[in-house]
Amino acid sequence: MGLIQRTVESAGIATISISLSREITQKVCPPRAVFTGLPLGHPLGFPGQASLQLRVLRLLLKQLEEIKAAGTLIELDLTSDHGTPGSLGAGGFD
């Protein structure tokens, strides 16, 4: 995904992405990314949790305004307040 992000940013559009892996994001070095700790397949949280999905989007927009250096990866932890997970189960986070 970082490769697509780099291409869109190069075309003159400001971009921000959710990172599901710090390791991969650090290698690809997209312009702006936010790692939330949410698991694979759940970049915006869990089914039916519109408020969490909106919260993630608003966090992205806030970071889009605040990040001033290319290649910034912001690390947050949204895993503690996600409410009831979907099919992932309680063992989904480490």
């Binding site: 971009t15 970049p43 999905q53």
Partner: protein
């Protein structure tokens, strides 16, 4: 590839995806060792408007497509570098996910967790953003080998050009 082999591979890929989702430390180890294109620097475009004046589009790599569109190619082990254009007004019920390399059982229940097509409309309604672009885009992740060049030299630039043509100010990218 014959049918039994294809079926075996599909089952194997889905079990691996489930395993990586349930046990993040296995995914982290894979990510640390994965042979991924490396860059030391990043391109940069300054955000030049207030958010409430910006037009936003989404790009996901979650394998989302309209039920009426051809699904992504799951037979090619190097992935599928093509993209699908998703009209922004489409009801979530008309979307499907074809992607064997992550566990999308939750996203099948609510596509917004990988492709927040309804949530960006909420952001427009609340005045957080200026407008939602008429179209979003979807790719499939897990693109490797020869398809990386197709992605970086052909399909991703085509999507970027279309978004530029639409005067999009911000693109939010969501993986899966």
């Amino acid at each position: 590839m014959n049918k039994p082999l294809l079926g075996f591979r599909k089952t194997k890929d889905r079990w691996v995806a489930r395993l990586l989702t349930r046990f993040p430390f296995i995914f982290r180890r894979w990510a640390q060792r994965a042979d991924i294109l490396r860059f030391d620097q990043s391109p940069w475009t300054e955000l030049s408007k207030a958010l409430n004046q910006c037009r936003i589009a989404l790009i996901t790599t979650g394998g989302v497509h309209l039920k009426s569109q051809p699904p992504f190619d799951m037979l090619d082990p190097a992935g599928d570098p093509s993209f699908r254009e998703i009209p922004a007004h489409i009801p979530a019920g008309e979307l499907a996910i074809t992607h064997n390399y992550y566990d999308h059982s939750d996203a099948d229940k609510d596509v917004n967790i990988v492709f927040p097509v309804e949530r960006v409309k909420d952001l427009k309604g609340s005045g957080d953003i200026g407008s939602v672009n008429d179209r979003h885009y979807s790719f499939m992740g897990h693109i490797t080998g020869p398809h990386l060049k197709t992605l970086t030299a052909e399909t991703a630039p085509r999507v970027a050009a279309e978004l530029k043509k639409d005067a999009v100010d911000i693109v939010i990218l969501t993986p899966a």
